[in-house]
């Protein structure tokens, strides 16, 4: 499979199995150079397996895969010098200090930055930005979980790779560390680095990613820009049911007023409407309330968010699990 230079990663019908269990069940991916791509999905969806296959840690069991124009597994020596990897879980030689760890990593890379005897500015800068600068002489075993995670990120990025894989880079970080991590990732992206990231924080994907894929049970359920993902999702309008109307009254009224758009009434005194054309629905709703003399309290309109899309896919997963 040949890769046009526009694509950092191309995968077609990619599969990866552990014994009899197929964790990745035929996914297609096209990640453009310089793009920031986020892979979302519940635990066990297959994100890490996908990442490790793209990284060349595991051999794909089916399909075709090209990373920076090569097979990442069989042509590891050609791909790796241009790639930075932050695994979901990885270890350190705990008895080394932070500085020794960074220096070893540089010495193991073919990057000219790793030339003997000097720690490049990128490393110093990254450690400062991730608040590790005063930890250089600390042994890695003594670092907190969050500090180790940040050191992980430093190692994945110090050689200025063209393509960076980050598997849950911010899981377990406090909000301040997460913000620092985001800043670093944004700087990387600004410098043209292609970034593939997995995360459980949807706002992270919303904030950073050019494109998002949501995985579910080894497949990509949806994929696109944030706008594309939420485009066809209904907008939610909710308000409190006026005391003078019963649930049945309002149900009937809304059916005629709002029309064929999807409609849902919730028990109690809350009413929730899922509509595809929010402006039209809202106009009609308010017009009806005014003309009938009803007062609608607590009106809120909420645009579908990534979290709605995600919840819907995760719910599909639950249904499937119940069937098993």
């Amino acid at each position: 499979m040949t890769t046009t230079p526009d694509f950092a990663i191309q995968a077609h019908d990619l599969r990866c199995a552990y014994g009899d269990f197929e964790a990745v069940r035929g996914i297609d991916l096209e990640i453009r150079s310089g793009e920031m791509f986020a892979l979302l999905g519940t635990n066990g969806a297959g994100k890490t397996t996908t990442m490790e296959t793209l990284e060349g840690h595991r051999r794909a069991d089916g399909g075709t895969l090209s990373v920076l124009g090569h097979d990442p597994y069989t042509e590891r020596p050609r791909v790796r010098p241009r790639v930075g990897i932050m695994l979901q879980e990885s270890g350190f030689a705990g008895e080394l200090t932070v500085a020794e760890t960074v220096d070893m990593w540089l010495a193991l890379s073919s990057s000219p930055l790793g030339e003997r005897g000097r720690r490049p500015d990128t490393a110093v800068e990254a450690m400062e930005r991730l608040d590790l600068a005063d930890r250089t002489d600390t042994r890695v075993v003594q670092l907190s979980g969050g500090q180790k995670r940040r050191l992980d990120l430093v190692l994945a990025t110090i050689t200025r790779p063209d393509l960076v894989f980050l598997d849950e880079p911010t899981t377990g970080l406090d909000p301040e560390s997460r913000r620092r991590t985001w800043d670093l990732i944004e700087t990387l992206r600004g410098s043209g680095t292609t970034i593939v990231l997995t995360t459980h924080y949807l706002e992270e994907a919303e904030r950073l990613a050019d494109r998002i894929a949501i995985m579910h049970a080894g497949r990509i359920a949806v994929e696109g820009t944030l706008a594309e993902l939420v485009h066809d999702r209904p907008t939610q309008i909710s308000f409190r049911r006026p005391a003078e109307l019963s649930s049945a009254d309002i149900d009937r009224a809304l059916r005629t007023v709002v029309g064929p758009q999807r409609l849902e009434t919730v028990a109690g005194d809350g009413v929730v409407l899922d509509v595809t054309d929010a402006q039209q629905a809202l106009g009609r709703l308010l017009g009806w309330a005014d003309s009938q003399g009803h007062r609608l309290e607590n009106i809120t309109v909420s645009q579908a968010s990534l979290s709605d899309v995600f919840a819907q896919i995760a719910a599909g997963q639950q249904k499937q699990e119940e069937l098993v």
């Binding site: 790796r80 010098p81 990885s90 270890g91 030689a93 705990g94 073919s110």
Partner: protein
Amino acid sequence: MSTARQTKVIARTEWKLIARNKTVLFSATLFPLALTALYLIQDAEGPMAAAGLTSIMVAIFSSMTVYMTVTLTAVSRRQDLYLKRLRSGESSDVAIFAGITLPTALLCLAQMIVVVVVLAIIGFEVPVEPWWIVAAALGSIVSCLAMGLGTASVTPNASAAQMTTVPYFLFVIGSVFATPFADSQLMDLTPGGAVVTFARLAFDVPTPGSALTAAAGLVIWTAVGTEMARRFFRWEPRS
């Protein structure tokens, strides 16, 4: 980025780790040295005794310092996900293997040299053809290194290593002691028998074995270990 340079960087790091882990340093050094001293005070004389003592020394050092340490190192570095870390960089698999095992092999070699120097100083029997001792030492170290990686490939975790290393360790030591009794060239094909044959050649003691079959024996065990590692080695605890 050459495998040689990667190996050097990983080995240098591994050496630091050994030097900072007093327990490993202690058990990998002191125990074999003490065992050898125990044999030295037996006060045996003559080339036959010298050949026996030399083979025991080589076998104990390579099986304890190299075989057991290599197995344990590979398994615990895998368990710590340090191997996976190394493998997420540019290092080749060969560089990682060589890097984490080389320091132990060098440590073993250093121990042997110390013992040889001590023996020379106290006026021990001088070998007629000393290069056979070098052959025994290097061959035994290399085969123990390969078998250590092979054993690590079938050892799920560090505590299991206490069990999985027992058979080959006993085999090495046992075959050293069994060789004088078996009195057959077939013993050359065992890791201990090969060492005994080389030691006898060094001190010009009659032996049913030959350099060729003894070398073949050590090559076989090196190949067995290498093949086990090639087939079964896992870079991470779960895979």
